[in-house]
Symmetry: C2
Subunit: 313 residues, 2 copies
């Protein structure tokens, strides 16, 4: 890649798209945000993605840069090898051949990736997991999902569904998960589950952030819910560590915004559970909600064969 | 490798060593078994491993073959990159630089691997997982451990400790595991746990094989223990599938000798737990107790850079 070359990166979420032009060193030179308006249906969303990507390529050219590839991160089940958005609950994708559609429209080499895996890639290579080699990125928000990144590549699985740590069993007979099974990690410890559990006990609605704050202020019900959450997360992360044996666990997503209120007790609870395991470093994500977009850019750079040593920021 | 070339393979267990000479196509041309006599201490065991390997190389030469590399599989924590047997409960290894010792003694390129990962490698490439691409091999015996094999390579982890599916939490507050924590899969569903649980309920000792047989014969206590075991294993495998998304799960080890008495109900229980997951094929291991030795041979072939397409048996 030349000095003026950039990749176009788009991270498609249920409510908004985070977009950027990114250089070969992983440095962002321009960002944009656009609404997804998922209610319009998947065909309209795909049109918007392509319009936005095309607009970003045009913006690059207007600024004297050369757009050389496109990376798109989407939620749900993603077949990265075929470039297909297989299934998504919140955007409504069903077997959308997004890569081919993008290549036809923009004429650029295009890579499609899963949003959490893209975020994990970015945290592992440019963010809080930098230099660790083996990283587990865990995004805790409305749901819980993970990306296992080894030497800068995220595990995809046989069908594009790897990393669903939100659906490992931690509380048999526990709260029913959106997936239909009881006791999944996500049903106990996602940001939505924390708010729901507190509302159930206190009889008054609250967000996970409220619960974190009230727990820190010593409110007993909030403290109880927070402790239950931390214990369930520690159980889930300990099971993940038994299987993956990573050097660093990076915690991101909305719940991670509680910072050390989450990470302090979670680190202690994880430490308690480490017996034969090698204890991983547990750190907060560093790239915030730009991780997915940066990861989409990395997928585009990887598709071009840009050496990773260029990631120097 | 030439037509008369073979690799020397040694699989070191707590009680015995399985040894073989293996051709570049994965075909075994000679096998031997030797006692490990772990009670003599790790130094004596290392001497025996090297004597046995040296003897196998001599046997190859006496038969007009050329030994070109050595593969050794050992239990415990294994640093495959450095060739070091880091830790083993039943053989007593503590940071044994086994690869360097073998290279010094035999003068052959040598690869060291973890026994379950080696077994998983063999099942994935030559056995029940052949052609699947993404395979989880789960060995259920005295303990429970797994190997995640993608495109013919087993995940090792950051510290050589990946795949410890026996220590994922399935029954919070359940039986205490050898690792010190309550409710690990291994504490509920290993062959030893099955025998122990039945003895506890029935007041009379029994092996896991006894329990399987009595459950099939309709004995209520045995049926109860068998069902508990299958449910716990299904919980563990479902959590594994959520994280790994494999195409095939291969079940091996002593408990798998129960055949369809285990696999039939386990397949049904796993099916029940698959919601968003792509359901993996669940099959019995095909290579029996030779899997680890064949895997050691594959590690040696990989170290030599022998193309995998030669595995044609």
């Amino acid at each position: 890649m030349g000095g003026g070359d950039v990749v176009v990166a788009v991270d498609v979420g249920g409510t908004g798209m985070k977009c950027a032009l990114v250089g070969p060193d992983g440095a962002t030179v321009h960002t944009e945000r656009h609404p997804t308006d998922a209610g319009r249906g998947p065909a309209a969303v795909v049109d918007t993605i392509l319009d936005v990507a095309d607009g970003l390529a045009a913006k690059a050219r207007a600024d004297g840069r050369t757009p050389v590839a496109l990376g798109i991160a989407v939620p749900g089940i993603v077949d990265e090898a075929r470039g297909v958005a297989v299934w998504s609950a919140n955007v409504g994708f069903r077997d959308v051949p997004l890569r081919d559609l993008a290549v036809t429209r923009l004429g650029l080499p295009t890579a499609i990736g899963h949003d959490v895996r893209a975020g994990g890639l970015a945290e592992a290579r440019l963010g809080a997991g930098r230099g660790a080699g083996h990283v587990l990125f865990v995004a805790i928000g409305t749901g819980i999902a993970a990306a296992h990144v080894v030497d800068g590549s995220a595990s995809v699985g046989a069908h594009g569904a790897a990393g669903e740590i939100g659906h490992i069993l931690v509380r048999p007979g526990g709260p029913r998960c959106g997936c239909g099974r009881p006791g999944c990690l996500e049903a106990v410890a996602s940001a939505s589950a924390v708010g729901r559990r507190y509302a159930e006990l206190a009889g008054t609605p609250a967000t996970a952030a409220d619960v974190a704050e009230r727990a820190a202020a010593g409110e007993p019900l909030a403290a109880q819910v927070w402790t239950e959450t931390v214990e369930a997360l520690a159980d889930g992360l300990a099971s993940g560590q038994a299987l993956f044996d990573v050097a660093t666990i990076v915690v991101g997503g909305g719940l991670a915004q509680a910072g050390e209120r989450l990470l302090g007790p979670l680190r202690a609870a994880l430490h308690e559970r480490m017996t034969f395991h090698r204890e991983p470093r547990l750190v907060a994500a560093a790239l915030g909600d730009e991780a997915g977009c940066l990861g989409a850019a990395l997928l585009a750079l990887d598709a071009l064969g840009v050496p990773r040593s260029m990631e120097t920021r």
